[in-house]
C-alpha cells in the first residue's frame, strides 16, 4: 500500500461508517471498471458510422435479435426462437419476454422491424438481405416475420453479424431515422445504459448497469452470444491518446484496462506482474496491400503479380507487432486464419523463398517502363502506418518511380476515393488492416469484391469473384461455403484485388484481477473483479 492508497483508505473507512451494511458486500471502487478504449467515441450511432469504437459502444447499450458465438454460429439473443415456413421463404422470429429499453418502454416487434430495415440500408450484408426481402412484418408485439423472395440461408448470420454496424435494435421512434442521419439519442435495451449527461467526447464515456436487463436464462457467454450479465455498476471509458500516459495510468491503478497498447508499451507492461498482456481476440486482424486497378501501372494484372515474389508477410507483420512469432501469422490468404473459410488454395506465389530480383524480372516482363506510381498511407494509425513503411521500402527496392505520400488518416480516407490517374492527384497503392470479423466470410469482406466502380477504393473488376460471392450467400451448408471459399481465393490470388500481408493479434493490457472477459471484442458483460 502506498501513501495515496493509505490516505484514500482512511478517508473511505471514515465515510464507510455512514453507509448501510449492504454496501460492504463489494467496495464502491470495485463496482467501477475504468478502461482506455482503442479510440475516441465521437459518433453514437452504429448504423450511421462504421467506426469500430462506435460498434463497441453499440454492444454496450444495444442488443441484437441474434448473437454470434466464437465459432461464428448465430444464436438467439433477443429472440426466443424462430419458425421457418414456406420452404424457407417465411421466417417468423419471436422476441423474448420482459425485454425493456433503457427508457422503460418494452421492446416490441414494432421496434425490431424498423431497426432491421434501417440497418439493411447501410450494412453490406444487410443490403444483400434487402435484395431478397419482400417485406418484414409485425405479426404482434412479440413476433416479426421476414417474407422472402427466395430462401436466404444466411439470414440469422446476417442478423448476428459482429463486424461493423451490427443489426442492433433501437426504439421505433429512433429506428425510423433516415439511415444517413444520426439518431438523436442513445437508447437501447442492452446490459448497460449510456450516461448522456456525463458524455464528454475525447475525454470520458460513462455507462451504468441496466438493472432491468434480462440476460438469456442459460448458455455460456461466447462472443456476442449467450447470457450478458453485467457485474459492474459503472463502466468508464477514459480517452487517453498518449500511449505512455495510458500505460502509466494502468500501472498506478488509475485504470483497469488498456485496450490497444502499442508493441513497445506492451514490453513495458509485461514487467508488471499485476497486468496481463493477452490477445483481445483469439483471431487475428489482416493487413492488405491494395492496388488501384484503374490506372497504370497496376491496371495490368502482370504488374500486380510481378511484386508477389518480393512480398514477405513476415516483414509486414513484424513491423506491426514485433518479432514474437506467437503474435502474427504468415501464409495468410483471403480469410481470417482460424475461421472456417480460411484455406491455402492459390497461395503458391506468396510462399517459398522471397526474391526482389525475381520480382524485378517479372516487372520487366510485364513491360514496366518507369511509369510514376504513388503510395499513400497514414502516419497516425499504428498498423496501416507500419505496413506503409514496409511497402515504401519495398517499392524503392523494386525500382518503382515512386512518390510516397504520408499524411494523417483523414487525408488518406479522402484521397483514396480519388479515381484520377497519378498525374492528377490519384494513387496507385495503399495499405491498411481489417478486423478478424471483416475477413471471416465474404459478407463483410469488401476488399475482395470485384464489382468495379461500386467496389472499395481500388475498384477491381473481377466478375468471377462476384459470381462466387453471390453463390456463397446461397450456400446450403458449410462444406459448400468452404468449396466456394477455396475457389474465391484461387481467383483472388490470380487477379489480385489486393495482396494479403499477413495477420496479427491485437494484444490488450488488463489487470489480472479482472476475470471472465469474453474474448473477441472489448465486451464488458460477464467480467468481474476478483
Amino acid at each position: 500500500m502506498n501513501r495515496r492508497d493509505l490516505l484514500r483508505a482512511s478517508a473511505a473507512a471514515g465515510a464507510a461508517a455512514a453507509l448501510p451494511r449492504a454496501s460492504f458486500a463489494q467496495p464502491a471502487q470495485n463496482r467501477v471498471l475504468k478502461m482506455v478504449p482503442q479510440a475516441n467515441l465521437t459518433s453514437l450511432d452504429p448504423v450511421w458510422t462504421t467506426a469500430n469504437i462506435t460498434r463497441n459502444h453499440g454492444h454496450m447499450i444495444y442488443d441484437s435479435l441474434y448473437g454470434m458465438d466464437a465459432q461464428f454460429r448465430p444464436q438467439p439473443q433477443m429472440a426466443e426462437g424462430h419458425v421457418v415456413e414456406d420452404d424457407g421463404k417465411s421466417v417468423t422470429i419471436t422476441l423474448r419476454q420482459g425485454l425493456k429499453f433503457h427508457d422503460g418502454e418494452p421492446v416490441r416487434a414494432q421496434d425490431a422491424v424498423p431497426s432491421v430495415t434501417r440497418w439493411m440500408k447501410r450494412n453490406p450484408f444487410g443490403q444483400k438481405l434487402d435484395t431478397v426481402v419482400d417485406a418484414i412484418e409485425v405479426v404482434d408485439d412479440r413476433r416479426l416475420r421476414f417474407r422472402l423472395k427466395r430462401p436466404f440461408p444466411l439470414l440469422f448470420k446476417a442478423l448476428a453479424q459482429v463486424s461493423n454496424s451490427p443489426a442492433f435494435v433501437m426504439p421505433e421512434r429512433l429506428a425510423k431515422t433516415d439511415p444517413f442521419q444520426q439518431v438523436r439519442e442513445a437508447i437501447g435495451s442492452g446490459p448497460f445504459k449510456f450516461k448522456a449527461d456525463e458524455f464528454n467526447s475525447g475525454s470520458r464515456v460513462v455507462y451504468e448497469r441496466f438493472a432491468d436487463y434480462v440476460p438469456l436464462p442459460s448458455g455460456t457467454p461466447s462472443l456476442t452470444a449467450g447470457p450478458k450479465v453485467a457485474h459492474f455498476d459503472r463502466v468508464e471509458w477514459h480517452i487517453i491518446v498518449d500511449a505512455a500516459t495510458a500505460a502509466a495510468a494502468l500501472q498506478t491503478g488509475e485504470i483497469d484496462w488498456y485496450e490497444q497498447p502499442p508493441p513497445e508499451i506492451q514490453e513495458l507492461l509485461r514487467r508488471n506482474r499485476g497486468i496481463s498482456i493477452e490477445a483481445i481476440d483469439p483471431l487475428p486482424l489482416t493487413g492488405i496491400l491494395r492496388f488501384n486497378h484503374l490506372h497504370a501501372p497496376f491496371n495490368d494484372k502482370k504488374m500486380r503479380q510481378a511484386i508477389l515474389p518480393a512480398i514477405s508477410q513476415e516483414d509486414f507483420m513484424q513491423a506491426i507487432v514485433g518479432t514474437d512469432p506467437a503474435t502474427y501469422f504468415t501464409n495468410v490468404g483471403l480469410f481470417t486464419p482460424g475461421t472456417p473459410l480460411a484455406n491455402d488454395a492459390g497461395m503458391g506465389p506468396l510462399t517459398g523463398p522471397r526474391s526482389i530480383d525475381r520480382a524485378k524480372a517479372m516487372m520487366r516482363e510485364a513491360g514496366y517502363t518507369n511509369q510514376p506510381m504513388r503510395l499513400i498511407g497514414p502516419t497516425d494509425i499504428l498498423a496501416p502506418s507500419a505496413l506503409t513503411q514496409v511497402a515504401a521500402d519495398l517499392v524503392r527496392r523494386l525500382g518503382f518511380n515512386a512518390d510516397i505520400v504520408l499524411t494523417d488518416w483523414g487525408t488518406v480516407v479522402q484521397r483514396r476515393t480519388s479515381r484520377e490517374p497519378v498525374e492528377r492527384g490519384g494513387w496507385s497503392m495503399l495499405l491498411t488492416a481489417f478486423s478478424s470479423f471483416d475477413f471471416a466470410d465474404p459478407a463483410a469482406h469488401f476488399p475482395m469484391r470485384g464489382n468495379g466502380a461500386q467496389a472499395w477504393p481500388g475498384w477491381p473488376t473481377v466478375p468471377r469473384l462476384e459470381e462466387l460471392r453471390d453463390a456463397w450467400f446461397d450456400a446450403p451448408d458449410l462444406a459448400t461455403e468452404q468449396r466456394l471459399a477455396r475457389e474465391m481465393q484461387t481467383v483472388a490470388m490470380d487477379e489480385l484485388p489486393y495482396v494479403p500481408c499477413g495477420s496479427y493479434l491485437s494484444l490488450t493490457a488488463i489487470k489480472r484481477n479482472l476475470t471472465g472477459r469474453v474474448p473477441g471484442l472489448a465486451l464488458f458483460w460477464n467480467m468481474r473483479r476478483t
Binding site: N2, R3, R4, N40, T42, S43, L44, W48, T49, T50, A51, R122, N123, P124, N164, S165, D178, F180, Q181, Q182, R184, N200, S201, G202, S203, R204, H238, I239, I240, V241, D242, A244, T245, A246, A248, A249, Q251, T252, E254, D380, T407, D408, W409, G410, T411, V413, Q414, R415, T417, F434, A444, F446, A453, Q454, W456
Partner: protein
C-alpha cells in the same frame, strides 16, 4: 479610458471577421472529407455523397460561409459533424480544464520566474546568475512533452505522490483539482518560466543602472525595497508584455500538455477535431482562441497604465 476600452473592444470585430474568413477558407481548401470518414470502408460512393449532402458539405463555398457567419452572429457556432453536440456545449465542457491549466501555469510561472530573474540581475556574474541562466536555457531546450514524461515518471509512477493523468473539476474540491494540475502546469510552465526569467533579468539589469536606483541606495533604501519596489516596478512594462505574448505560447503548449496528461481541454478538442475534419468544431475553437488573444492584448495594454502612469490612452 472607458472610451478607449470600448474602441478596442469594437476593434475586435473586424479582426474576428478576418480570422473567420481565413479559417473557413483554409478548411475549405484543406484535404480531407468528414463524409468519407463517417461512411467508413464499406460505404459506396453514393453513400458518401448522401452523407455529404446531409451534412451540407455539397453546397457552394459562399453559401456555406454565409450560413456560418449568419449563425455566428446569432451566437450559434454550429453542431459537431460527429458528436451531434452543439459546438458551444463542447467548448463549455472543455474550457474549464484549459482555463485552470493556464491560470495555474501563469501563477506558477510568474511567481517563480520573476524572483528568479530579479535575483539573477542582482547577483549578476555569480553562480546564482549562471544557475538561473542555465535553467533558462534548459527550459527553452527541453520539449514540453519530455518534461511532462519525466515529471509523471518521478512524481506519479515512482513516488506515487500525484496522479498520472486526468482532470478533476474545481467543484469537486481544491485539493484534487490542484493535484491533477500541478505536474501539467510545471511541464507547460517550464518554457514560460525560462522566458520570463530571462526578460526579467535583462530588464532589471538595465533598470539597476539608472540614476534613481543610485539615489534610492544613497537615501538608505534596503536591497529588497530597491529590487522589488523601485526597480521591478520600472521593469514591469516589458515583463508584462512578455507575459502577454507568452499566453500564445501557453495555448500552443496546452495542446501537447493536455495530450500527455490526458486533460480534456480545448487543445485536445482542437487536435481531435482537425484529425476528424470536424469543421464546425475547428472553426469555433479557432475563433475562440483568436478572441482570447485579442482580449489578452487589451488587458496587457491596460496594465501598462498601472505600472507606468505616464502612459495614457
Amino acid at each position: 479610458m472607458f472610451a478607449y476600452v470600448v474602441r478596442r473592444i469594437l476593434a475586435t470585430i473586424p479582426v474576428m471577421a478576418v480570422v473567420a474568413l481565413f479559417v473557413f477558407s483554409l478548411l475549405y481548401v484543406a484535404p480531407g472529407d468528414p463524409a468519407a470518414v463517417i461512411a467508413g470502408d464499406q460505404a459506396t460512393p453514393d453513400d458518401v455523397e448522401r452523407i455529404r449532402q446531409s451534412l451540407g458539405l455539397d453546397r457552394p463555398y459562399l453559401v456555406r460561409f454565409g450560413a456560418w457567419v449568419f449563425d455566428i452572429m446569432r451566437g450559434d457556432l454550429g453542431v459537431s459533424i460527429f458528436t451531434n453536440l452543439p459546438v458551444v456545449t463542447m467548448i463549455q465542457q472543455r474550457i474549464e480544464p484549459t482555463l485552470s491549466l493556464m491560470v495555474v501555469t501563469l501563477i506558477l510561472a510568474v511567481s517563480i520566474a520573476v524572483p528568479m530573474g530579479v535575483v539573477a540581475a542582482w547577483k549578476v556574474g555569480t553562480w546564482m546568475d549562471r544557475a538561473v541562466m542555465g535553467f533558462a536555457v534548459l527550459g527553452f531546450s527541453v520539449p514540453v512533452f519530455v518534461v511532462g514524461y519525466l515529471l509523471a515518471y518521478v512524481f506519479a509512477l515512482e513516488l506515487d505522490w500525484l496522479p498520472v493523468q486526468g482532470y478533476t473539476p474545481f467543484s469537486q474540491g481544491f485539493v484534487p483539482w490542484f493535484e491533477n494540475l500541478i505536474l501539467p502546469a510545471i511541464a507547460l510552465g517550464s518554457v514560460y518560466i525560462a522566458l520570463i526569467a530571462r526578460i526579467t533579468r535583462a530588464t532589471m539589469l538595465e533598470v539597476l543602472q539608472q540614476d534613481y536606483i543610485r539615489t534610492a541606495r544613497a537615501k538608505g533604501a534596503g536591497q529588497p525595497s530597491i529590487l522589488f519596489l523601485h526597480a521591478l516596478k520600472n521593469a514591469a512594462v516589458p515583463i508584462v508584455t512578455v507575459i502577454g505574448i507568452g499566453i500564445a505560447l501557453l495555448i500552443g503548449g496546452a495542446v501537447v500538455t493536455e495530450s500527455v496528461f490526458a486533460i480534456p481541454g480545448l487543445g485536445r478538442l482542437t487536435v481531435d477535431a482537425i484529425l476528424r475534419r470536424d469543421y464546425p468544431v475547428i472553426q469555433g475553437v479557432v475563433l475562440l482562441f483568436s478572441f482570447v488573444y485579442v482580449l489578452v492584448n487589451l488587458v496587457i495594454d491596460l496594465l501598462y497604465t498601472l505600472f507606468d502612469p505616464r502612459i495614457r490612452y
